[in-house]
Symmetry: C2
Subunit: 339 residues, 2 copies
DNA sequence: TCAAAAGTGTTATCCTTACACCCATGT
DNA sequence: ACATGGGTGTAAGGATAACACTTTTGA
């Protein structure tokens, strides 16, 4: 009696332009086609989705090649940096499963590109990542939305706890994930925060999923204070991707593929800031870059900066083959072997 | 014409006992049953495999629950800490695919347990992880096997490069992955190293896979200087797991689930050393633990140490809800918003 | 001349790394 | 008493975090 399985591949394709991190989105309706379901819930054609493609188990040699293949075909983009993110396989992650659809397992990948690359799918569109997570952008200080809207919602949820103990646990959790109380903000806990908002049912997807579960008619999708919703679990996937990027930024030169081959140090800083969602200290950032040996100066200058011209740098090819910076990690002492 | 797909779940279950990291292995033949293939290649019943279970798409609510379920059923182990590792989906990762088997996609999970937990599968067995990767244990200094056997094999491969350029690239690669030349040893590059040994065909699995590819009879499995082989791509999965553990050890308290609730600081250090494959400086390790606030002292003492009695500690429950240690990462400055 | 952005110097403080040494128990 | 493992002090050097300041362009 085991249901059929379908393997899907999701591509979280990210670029940074004009100091903003952007996600390549497509319209959901292109991929929506299960009659039983469609008649009940007409596909919301305005809704954002992460690009998606199937795995052809007989043709595709590897998952990553399959992904590169259909991304190229659908959008014209030749992906460069690609890494596997996570595999999502909860039952009913696609509500069509409830109406006779196959069980859908999705392997999500993260890709970093330059936005200026050409692509040619009419319904695809770059969107600012912070449209989906307005509370994640701390570059100009703590977002007002947290104090104004999110914290009260979280408080209400804490108060609804059935016992003292539950309420205390909830309090701890909201303090930690959103850096309330006297806790600090951890920029990489993107997924924890999204999942909390989903759990307390202020993320729109939670309401939609609940309706599907009860087989009642879901409310129309809407953009509320808790960010622009996406179809299915795509916002969860995006949250996982952003968290991964933020975690890796600290010790891996991910920004490589997001910048042109020549760039100024400010451009570099803006890209990192856009992704980290945090403002960086200019000089200390430069020291950081210098210590990591990330860049080397070309003699050239960029005079289009609007102020004093900036020196142009390029990445040092060999950072990728280099070793971890010391001072990060465990206190190792390797003994000499005397033979 | 799309072939059928089968979703598998692999559990890399790891414990540390007697200062050695151990992997729960099972015998392959329990799960081996495709006639066309079996007749050609009788299953090598002595071979190690990582525990494996199928996903029942109609019954299992989530991948992780499915995994916990069959691990419990097969071995009696109740897993505590579980994390998704990676999804392996290369075509022919299971050679039976060539003989009419389904395409096999495997989602690998990492689980950490205490070895003293009971389990009751007759054919399961704990094995020292370094049986599979003898070159990864640097606790008593650089393993002799590297200079004696591995480095020469790598050198030979470099020399076989068709051009100057290829030879230089290969040299760079071996220097980086194995810390030859003047480069240092990066303990977390476990997968890179295994994949290199596979690529140059000294890892036994490479020879087996090549034979399968040519549909000739593979040589009998054997333990050579390049570590004890495993079935299919299981050694690759294990390498990914060990690399993940080593990477995380530096900034996450993974050791939680590997130790009894009360332990001495030396025990803690030995567990970390066993997994990291590196010897640690005693006092600096203690400072590290203290700074991270990992433990709190109970008044109790352990007198069974063979020397001066040691103070017993327990983990601080709230480390999990705490924030990143400062000094790790980007130079952030969050401005105050004046309203 | 002034706004805008690039780029530099200099501290106090904390963390890392590396030493060498003392303590409490069982045999 | 001595082997065994537990536990501590301290100082040099380096990295971080926080200051404020100078330089070069375009409008």
């Amino acid at each position: 009696m085991s249901t059929q399985v379908e393997i899907g591949l999701n591509a979280v394709i990210i670029a940074v332009t004009d100091k903003e991190p952007r996600l390549l989105t497509v319209n959901w309706d292109r991929q929506f086609s299960l009659e039983a379901y469609d008649q009940l819930r007409p596909p919301p054609s305005t809704l954002n989705a992460i690009p998606f493609g199937p795995l052809d188990p007989s043709a595709d040699r590897t998952l990553e090649l399959a992904l590169r293949g259909w991304v190229k075909k659908q959008t014209g983009l030749e992906l460069d940096y690609v890494e596997q993110l996570y595999t999502f396989g909860d039952r009913n992650r696609d509500p069509r499963e409830r109406y006779g659809g196959k069980r859908s397992i999705s392997v999500a990948y993260l890709a970093l590109v330059q936005e200026n690359e050409t692509f040619d799918i009419a319904q695809a569109r770059w969107r600012n990542i912070y449209d989906f997570f307005p509370w994640e952008d701390w570059r100009t200080g703590a977002p007002e939305i947290i104090q104004a809207v999110i914290a009260p919602a979280l408080e209400a949820w804490v108060e609804q706890g059935v016992s003292q103990k539950v309420r205390r646990q909830r309090r701890e959790r909201i303090d930690m994930t959103f850096g309330l109380g006297d806790a600090g903000w951890d920029n990489y806990r993107v997924l924890d925060r999204y999942e909390l908002l989903y759990e307390i049912e202020v993320a729109f997807e939670a309401q939609w999923d609940r309706a599907c579960q009860q087989k009642t008619l879901p409310p129309p999708h809407q953009h509320n204070h808790f960010g622009c919703p996406m179809i299915l679990d795509h916002r969860r996937i995006l949250a996982a991707a952003l968290g991964r990027i933020r975690g890796k930024l600290k010790y891996r030169p991910l920004v490589f593929d997001l910048l042109p081959s020549l760039f100024t140090l400010s451009q570099l800083q803006h890209v990192v800031e856009a992704l980290a969602g945090l403002p960086l200290h200019k000089q200390n950032f430069r020291r950081f870059v210098e210590k990591a040996g990330l860049v080397e100066s070309t003699g050239q200058m960029d005079t289009q900066t609007g102020g004093r011209p900036a020196a142009l740098f390029r990445f040092r090819r060999d950072v990728l083959t280099e070793h971890q910076s010391p001072g990060v990690g465990l206190p190792v002492t390797i003994p000499q072997k005397n033979t």
